[in-house]
């Protein structure tokens, strides 16, 4: 049994290095640690946690949502001081109920709201959509024909469309000529490009389309490709997206039609989550269900930063 002994030895060693006595224990459980956004959340969270002297245990279940419930149960058994999740709370309600029963606060890190959470820390989707739609309205001086790309089946994106509708509706001289829901199977670029090509064909007059507002970056990028392929990039069609992914940032930096997008502060969400955790551990009742972290409008002016 020599082999198993050495395994046990390794366990003791890791346990020692990971569990200094009397520090606050916070467990972060996510199935999505492999994704870049989640990694930045965790990075921001860890930086703050270190400063506060917490013992933060990051648990990745590699895509397994049921395992998230199991690991929450384990954390409750271990009687940690707080739990942070980064997964849809509805799917793990079974685990959240166990934590609630044990009186352990659970904070969502961009997870979606739920009464079983103390609070959810995320970007303000309403504000992001407001930023880009107002940008469009300004650029076309409150007058012109706008194409919208939306996706109402997915709630976080749906709310963006609602805000843009309201903003454009408030300008009497802005006309929304199409409100398109692209097929997102392939990420949304290819189908958006096809849809945009059809719109361009239907509106051949130069200047007949003033702007494209996209609820996220991919449709905007597809529209950009369509406009460039049609040779109509000189008409001054303004394109905006949301999320500021690397491809969108490149497009903005290139100085073409794709002019603006909004960047979420992922690291900031992680940090803010740590702040909420710290308040919850102290016993403070978090009044707001959602804690918003400011976003940044990205244009040619600040895309290089």
């Amino acid at each position: 049994m020599l082999n198993l002994k050495s395994v046990a030895g390794a366990l003791v060693a890791t346990a020692m290095s990971f569990a200094p006595a009397l520090a606050q224990n916070v467990t972060v459980v996510t199935p999505y640690l492999a994704q870049p956004g989640t990694q930045m959340f965790v990075e921001g969270f860890k930086a703050e946690a270190e400063g506060m002297g917490w013992n933060a245990n990051i648990v990745d279940t590699a895509g397994d949502v049921a395992a998230v419930i199991s690991r929450i149960e384990d954390a409750v058994t271990q009687n940690v001081d707080a739990i942070v999740i980064n997964v849809d709370p509805e799917q793990i309600a079974a685990g959240l109920e166990v934590a609630k029963e044990a009186g352990i606060p659970v904070i969502g890190m961009d997870s979606g709201a739920s009464p079983l959470l103390q609070a959810n820390v995320t970007s303000n989707g309403y504000a992001m959509a407001a930023e880009t739609s107002v940008y469009v309205a300004n650029r076309i001086a409150g007058k012109g024909r706008v194409v919208m790309f939306v996706f109402d089946p997915f709630p976080p994106v749906q709310i963006r469309g609602v805000i843009a509708d309201a903003v454009f509706g408030n300008f009497p001289d802005i006309e929304v000529i199409d409100r398109i829901t692209p097929d997102v199977q392939d990420g949304g670029i290819a189908d958006s490009r096809a849809k945009m090509e059809a719109i361009l064909a239907a509106n051949p007059e130069p200047g007949s389309i003033s702007a494209v507002w996209a609820a996220w970056d991919q449709p905007g990028l597809g529209a950009l490709q369509a406009i460039e392929a049609a040779g109509r990039e000189g008409e001054g069609i303004v394109i905006v997206g949301i999320d500021a992914n690397p491809q969108a940032r490149d497009a903005i930096a290139a100085g073409g039609n794709f002019e603006a997008s909004v960047a979420q502060d992922f690291v900031g969400i992680g940090k803010a989550t740590a702040g909420v955790v710290s308040r919850a551990i102290k016993g403070e009742e978090i009044k707001e269900d959602v804690v918003y972290v400011p976003t940044v409008l990205i244009t040619t002016a600040n895309v290089g930063e």
């Binding site: 590699a62 954390a75 509805e90």
Partner: protein, 320 residues
């Protein structure tokens, strides 16, 4: 001595793990609540491993169990979202499991395709169907009836036996039921004995008058059925269905059966040993999380323990 170690090495390892966590986590590990938690956490894996044992006694494999579990969850959830009653959703999901299993069985026993290849193919097919029917989305929220998701959150009250406020989770009960049924089939029925005979020597079994094709077909159908049960349990636990959610079950189930095989004298899978394999994996996850061991280190350890157990049993086998 070596023979004893070969047979009991894994069992000793299992006990060592139990003792180790009991010492390291004196207040929380060996509590009724935690042990009940563990039974619930491993319940889905246990169901898949038990039904996987049915084909593995024949020396076969079913790599498609994970995607079958996902597909079964999706089928049930879709029917729920279309307003069908829970019983219809569950029945349809189980039917899909049996049909998928029969399909695997036909490929393996009538077309003679190697199980590894055949079920690798159906793994992709089932997964594709799950994506296609769900449109790649997670089905959750109001689409999942609360009675369905509530099943995974409730259990038998244990107040009567002195465990005040504790429940024996229904998921654990389902797993126990599947375990008993598979044990009975494999150890107490002619059908099970014949499956073992096929594993012992397929050609000899055929010449001794066994209907090898039909038997293999039935075993694969049962494994598909088991995978569908696990898929429903999973969907109930996470109150949602996602086209990839069962995929992690397959490798863990095979690992558990392999761990169990190291305990059997003939090197054959036995369902009770498979259960110990499942418990080893589940307890490691549970205990190491409580000890705040990094999740990636945990994976390395789990893999190392499997390799160690299997290597240990093969070394001792050779030195006999």
């Amino acid at each position: 001595m070596i023979r004893t170690l070969k047979l009991y090495g894994t069992l000793i390892g299992f006990v060592t793990i139990l003792v180790f966590f009991s010492v390291q986590l004196p207040d929380t590990f060996l509590t009724a609540r935690n042990l009940l938690n563990i039974t619930q956490q491993v319940s889905m894996l246990a169901v898949v491993a038990c039904s996987m044992t049915l084909v593995m006694v024949m020396g076969d494999f079913d790599l498609s169990v994970g995607s079958m579990a996902s597909l079964a969850g999706i089928v049930a959830a879709l029917l729920f979202s279309m307003g069908y009653p829970i019983s219809v959703g569950i029945a349809a999901a189980l039917l899909v499991g049996v049909l998928g299993g029969v399909f695997n069985g036909i490929l393996v026993s009538f077309f003679g395709i190697l199980p590894f290849v055949a079920t690798l193919g159906t793994l992709t097919m089932f997964s594709g169907m799950a994506f296609f029917t769900s449109g790649g989305k997670t089905i959750f929220g109001r689409d999942i009836p609360t009675e369905f998701s509530g099943f995974a959150r409730s259990g038998l009250e244990l107040d009567q036996i002195g465990l005040i406020g504790l429940k024996l989770p229904y998921l654990s009960l389902v797993a126990l039921l599947v375990l008993v049924v598979v044990w009975f089939i494999l150890e107490q029925t002619i059908f099970g004995r014949r499956l073992y005979a096929i594993g012992g020597n397929q050609e000899a079994a055929r010449l001794a008058g066994l209907k090898v094709r039909t038997l293999r077909l039935c075993a694969f159908a049962m494994t598909g059925f088991g995978a569908a049960i696990a898929g429903l349990m999973y969907a109930s636990r996470v109150a949602s269905a996602n086209p990839t959610q069962g995929s992690g079950l397959m490798l863990d189930a095979i690992a558990a059966v392999f761990l169990g095989m190291t305990m059997s004298e003939e090197g054959e899978p036995r369902v009770l040993y498979s259960l110990i394999g499942v418990l080893i994996l589940g307890i490691l996850d549970n205990g190491l999380t409580q000890m705040s061991v990094d999740s990636y280190i945990r994976e390395i350890l789990v893999g190392a323990i499997i390799v160690t157990a299997v290597a240990f049993s093969s070394i001792t086998k050779q030195s006999r």
